[in-house]
């Protein structure tokens, strides 16, 4: 049960002025598993994400990440881009943040920036068109093509990302995060705004990422059908604290969880119960 943790959040707190967004939160995410972070609106889920991915500096607490080779990194000590670059944590955003004026393919190429920068000899080798650079560039295009194929957007590779339908943009953002070859993939409401069919496709994509790439996934989600279907472990937050955690089945029957949803948003609580029956 103690398992192999890729991420361990230990007594994390985040305050904005007088507001306590996250209070003394501890949880673990297991390696090669899908961990879901759920809770009513305003529970502090995105704040936790921003702390993990370095966009916020936590007021207190520790966030540890352990790579497959046992290499341990303290995330709260790294800032923004270094978390993605060194700790290999990739993320998506609640309100999609693609590069709208660049094509789908270009979006995936930008994601491979650090690897390509090395291959281009910090630009100088690339500028003279060295063969080693050309090979690396082709490899990057191939990787991007593979991902475009997996998310079903191969035929739209040369379309501007901003022109894609909403559901496609969501999937493209996940593919872009995957192109950084992350150890931990953090998804902020990936199913928001998707219809039932798109949600199902998303679940399938996430399961295949876990199975094929062995990437550990941490996701925030309101769509309980997705959460219940794919999560191995669920952490429930309310008002900045953890109120429950366990398997999806365990969470579904936890009265505290239902009360938290009922107390804030009736519809969501019903959704929780319905998805259980």
């Amino acid at each position: 049960m103690s398992g192999d943790h890729i991420l361990s959040v230990d007594r994390l707190s985040m305050r904005f002025g007088g507001i306590v967004a996250v209070n003394d939160l501890s949880f673990n995410a297991e390696r090669r598993k899908i961990t879901a972070l759920i809770g009513p609106n305003g529970a502090g889920k995105t704040t936790v994400f921003n702390c993990i991915t370095g966009f916020y500096k936590p007021t207190s607490g520790a966030i540890g990440l352990t790579h497959d080779d046992g290499h341990a990194i303290r995330l709260e000590r790294l800032n923004d881009f270094r978390i993605a670059k060194l700790a290999k944590v990739a993320r998506t955003f609640q309100n999609i943040r693609l590069f709208p004026g660049m094509t789908a393919l270009e979006n995936l190429m930008v994601a491979q920036h650090n690897a390509l920068m090395r291959a281009s000899g910090l630009t100088f080798l690339g500028l003279i068109g060295a063969p080693s650079w050309r090979t690396a560039e082709q490899a990057a295009i191939d990787l991007a093509t593979t991902w475009l194929d997996r998310i079903g957007l191969l035929d739209r590779a040369d379309d501007a990302a901003g022109n894609l339908p909403y559901g496609d943009q969501r999937r493209l953002e996940i593919a872009r995060a995957m192109c950084t070859e992350p150890a931990l993939l953090c998804l902020d409401e990936p199913a928001a705004g998707l219809n039932a069919r798109e949600s199902a496709a998303l679940s399938e994509l996430l399961l295949s990422i876990r199975a094929d790439q062995g990437t550990s996934i941490l996701l925030i989600e309101h769509d309980m059908s997705v959460v219940m279907e794919i999560s191995d472990h669920v952490v429930v937050m309310d008002h900045g604290v953890k109120i429950a955690e366990g398997t999806p089945k365990h969470i579904r029957d936890d009265p505290k969880v239902i009360a938290a949803y009922l107390g804030t948003d009736e519809e969501e609580a019903i959704a929780v119960m319905e998805s259980g029956t």
Binding site: T46, N50, F55, F93
Partner: protein, 305 residues
Amino acid sequence: MDYFAQQLINGLVLGSIYGLIAIGYTMVYGIVGMINFAHGDIFMIGGFIALITFLILVSFGLTAIPLILLIVLLVSMAITALYGWTVERIAYRPLRHSFRLAPMLSAIGMSFVLTNYSQVAQGARVKPVPPIITGGYTLHEGAEGFNVQLSNIQIIVVLTTVVLLALFTWLVSSTRLGRDMRACEQDQTMASLLGVDVDRTISMTFVIGAALAAVAGMMYLLYYGLVDFFMGFVAGIKAFTAAVLGGIGSLPGAMLGGLLIGLIETLWSAYFSVEYKDVAAFSILIVVLIFLPTGLLGRPEVEKV
């Protein structure tokens, strides 16, 4: 010490003028989010109109100085305000929801237009006027014969600034127009849905900003006794620097920034070198922004992820 006190007075007076111009920058920035590059030239136009009105009044035989000053103030505020309104109407309104750089370049173009319009209309030479207000007080007689002086002009400049600031603060905080302005600053779409006439409010912002710049122009004329077509550029950049230094979008910040720039400039000229006074002002701007990226009183930008 006496010398320092004197420089402090001079700096505050200059700072008041910068502050008045800076308010125009900061108001426009707050509400439309653009740098109104033509604002410095609006200040220059204000100076010119004050000068011409003054000449006409004197040639008509008016001798009561307070009456002349009042008329000059009102005329130059009114006409300059109309300049501000026209500039917004012609050069900025068509670009309101456009690409961010377009209004900025349009503003730079407008600044060239106004500078050269004045040059063509009034000639390139500096226009001097004899001192209109003379006299003053000696505050402290120094031992080495250096007296700390407070001239009447300085009193008038500072008093006018204080009165206008009080009036202006009241306008923004307690009137319908002020409320509309603050609403537009927060969210123009929502404001218009709630019945705020956004176009009119923005126009009024330009009008008020230009009127304050006209006052600054007139004070400049009284204090330095000259105007020329190119004075808007340097004063404009310094006032904008002041607005940024204080935290752009913040009205008290603009005044504070103005005073600081005025003081830095005066003290630097007095103790180090006159040639490098502008370099000092700009360098301090850069240094302040490095440590306080949103200025002294600006709201810290919270990054929304």
